[in-house]
């Protein structure tokens, strides 16, 4: 449809290369945005008292839920929002860039999330990657 409308802007390998780079950067930004959301949610989840408080598990669950959402958002946006601007003969290459960009989103999210979890290990973000319990 977009092709019919003449909105294809990426026709050459050089243009695809630039678009790929943009896709990777976009992936990293998506990772950061969703990580910030995960941090806000983690902070909003209240401490619970008692012998089996559920709040640490809730924070961990939301962390991994948001990584999946970030993956889906990144991939689908590139597939339906960006791919139509690429000419048919370069679609295969762009799909590879899409996959790579999505992996970058996940990696950014998880690696930065891990680092934040260790930096703030005594706070709520510490629940994302808890240390093994001593027996």
């Amino acid at each position: 449809m977009i092709a019919i409308l003449g909105l294809i802007t990426v026709r050459t390998p050089q243009q695809l290369s630039a678009l790929s780079l943009q896709t990777y950067i976009f992936g990293a930004i998506i990772g950061v945005i969703f990580l910030v959301m995960a941090a806000v949610i983690a902070t909003m989840i209240k401490f619970e008292g008692g012998s089996h408080p559920k709040d640490p598990r809730k924070r961990r669950s939301w962390f991994w839920i948001l990584v999946i959402v970030a993956l889906i958002v990144s991939f689908l946006y590139n597939m339906f929002g960006v791919a139509p601007t690429v000419s048919n003969n370069l679609q295969g290459d762009f799909m590879s860039a899409n996959v790579t960009g999505t992996l970058i989103a996940i990696a950014t999210y998880v690696i930065l999330g891990f680092l934040l979890s260790k930096m703030f290990s005594t706070g709520k973000l510490g629940n994302w990657f808890p240390s093994r319990k001593r027996k």
Binding site: S51, G123, K133
Partner: protein
């Protein structure tokens, strides 16, 4: 300086209970205090309760190896000694103890002069039943007899404990401060307060003729006049028991005792400070189902009263006082009283100079109780609120309290329940010591009224950040962005986990054991949040 506390009789036991709670909130930093409990009624419910409380305190503190700490909960080291005269079997009455039937006619006549037949023949296992003339005589002799038993190698365990206590007083010389807690309106306390110093001196001399309590050792006592009453005995009970205490005589007994203390030279020469504590209204300890007078034993388990806290605070004053101990002085304290109720403030208990410290420590321990019992669900059977709080540290990788033994954590739970409140199997509120003290007063009492609610739901939802009436000493008053009401538990956990400034200090607080560090960490956090004193 060395500190010795003697609690005598049922009222003395409840005063010791109040004193132990003062130690638990941390009012006796850096001190080691030796406590002797004396009661003739070995199965007395009050005695059992206070001794159980002290035993629990000792376990929390770490037993005999414990050391005093500072600026934290449970800072004082306590040593407990228990003494009870032997009044069973062939020593069950005055007549039997004195061997009147085997003695001379003169002995019999002398006894008949001072003691009626009923007084000579009632059983002593529930105490002296307000026969103070008999009680003074018997208490003096049982203390002296205990010393003889130790000297002659036939001592009971109670005799040895008394002897050990006396040895400590002797060894401390002029540094000994001895405070005696008991009532003066007719019970064991009234019998013993006049004769205790003389009895202790004579007992020490029996063990070693050259030994003496140092003349500069200081003695003080509470003069606690009547504050409760109970059903008068009916004729049938009098006929069967022969001698029963009658609370209608308490006022007259108090008056006679005060007149005696005012005039007696020996008492005035011995006691440097006497703290007169009175109460305008008598609390009824009859009980809803009581048709007859309880003479003692396990049934006598009276609820706590503010006068006992005032007596414990009198001991605090005596132990910390540096002036006015060179001559006999009787002091008293009054509080704002209007519209038939008191309006107690913190300074009414402890004096102006220590008001903030007392306010902070009492409030912090009460807040700690709410956290352990309600927020960490220590109220649930088989759960320990202290252990649940410790697990927070494990989850968030703060210090190594995870190795805190579960038994020590459970002792903390049980202690705070004794201090504040607990719930029964039907989730009704069971008032602990402080709640009972609050119930003994008609007017306001130190903290927000809701902090003493006996409605389960209201108590569970209570905002412990607002324990104090003054807004400048409240925290989590508002939610995030100033919207709604804040959650004090969130603020407490956030602070204790993240704020490095509230970590326990081995140097300032002298805390070494895991238990001590955990308690100090909690104390520091609440002190910071309430903003009454700086750490």
């Amino acid at each position: 300086m060395s500190y010795f506390l003697i609690g005598i009789g049922g009222t003395g036991m409840r005063c010791i209970e109040a004193f132990t709670h003062l130690c638990a909130i941390g009012m006796f930093d850096n001190k080691e205090i030796n406590i002797l409990s004396i009661d003739t009624d070995t199965n007395n419910g009050n005695k059992g309760r206070s001794e159980q409380l002290i035993d629990r305190y000792l376990r929390i503190k770490g037993g005999t190896d414990a050391k005093p700490t500072a600026n934290t909960f449970f800072s004082a080291k306590l040593n407990i000694f228990k003494f009870a005269p032997e009044y069973s079997g062939n020593r069950g009455t005055y007549e039997l103890i004195s061997d009147l039937n085997l003695g001379t006619e003169e002995n019999k006549a002398l006894s008949d002069l001072f003691f009626g037949q009923d007084v000579q023949q009632f059983t002593l296992d529930h105490g002296y039943r307000a026969q103070t003339h008999l009680g003074s005589h018997l208490m003096y002799h049982c203390i002296v007899e205990a010393a003889k038993n130790v000297r002659d190698g036939r001592a009971r365990n109670e005799d040895k404990q008394l002897s050990e206590f006396l040895d400590k007083i002797y060894q401390e010389g002029e540094n000994a401060r001895v405070f005696i807690l008991g009532s003066i309106f007719g019970g064991t306390g009234a019998s013993s307060i006049p004769i205790i110093p003389r009895a202790l001196r004579d007992a020490i001399r029996i063990k070693d003729q050259n030994a003496e309590i140092h003349p500069n050792a200081k003695f003080g006592c509470s003069l606690l006049t009547e504050y409760f009453g109970f059903n008068s005995p009916d004729p049938s009970q009098i006929k069967s028991e022969k001698v029963i205490a009658d609370s209608n005589n308490f006022s007259r007994n108090s008056q006679a005792a005060l007149m005696f203390y005012q005039a007696d030279k020996t008492v005035k020469a011995t006691y440097k400070m006497m703290y007169h504590i009175g109460w305008p209204k008598k609390k009824d300890f009859s009980g809803p189902n009581s048709q007859s007078t309880v003479t003692g034993g396990g049934e006598q388990k009276n609820s706590c009263h503010v006068t006992e806290l005032l007596s414990a605070c009198a001991a605090y004053d005596f132990f910390n006082r540096n002036e006015g101990l060179d001559q006999n002085d009787i002091v008293f304290k009054s509080a704002d009283y209007s519209n038939d109720s008191f309006n107690f403030k913190f300074q009414d208990f402890i004096g102006e100079a220590k008001t903030k410290e007392f306010m902070n420590k009492m409030g912090s321990f009460l807040a700690f109780s709410h956290i352990i019992i309600n927020k960490e669900q220590g109220w649930k059977p088989e759960q320990s609120g202290a252990l649940n709080l410790v697990r927070k540290f494990e989850e968030f990788k703060t210090p190594d309290y995870i190795y805190l033994p579960s038994q020590e954590a459970k002792d903390i739970d049980e202690f705070v329940k004794s201090f504040a409140f607990s719930y029964d199997s039907k989730e009704n509120v069971i008032p602990g010591w402080l709640f009972q003290v609050r119930e003994s007063i008609d007017g306001p009492f130190l903290f927000q009224t809701d902090s003493f609610s006996t409605n389960t739901r209201q108590l569970r939802d209570f905002h412990f950040g607002k324990i104090f009436n003054e807004e400048e000493h409240q925290f989590a008053r508002k939610g995030k962005l100033g919207i709604g009401v804040g959650d004090p538990y969130q603020v407490f956990i956030d602070t204790i986990l993240k704020d490095t400034g509230v970590r326990p200090s081995a140097e300032k607080q002298k805390v070494e054991r895991l238990n001590e560090r955990f308690l100090a960490h909690t104390y520091n956090t609440l002190t910071k949040l309430f903003n009454i004193i700086s750490n």
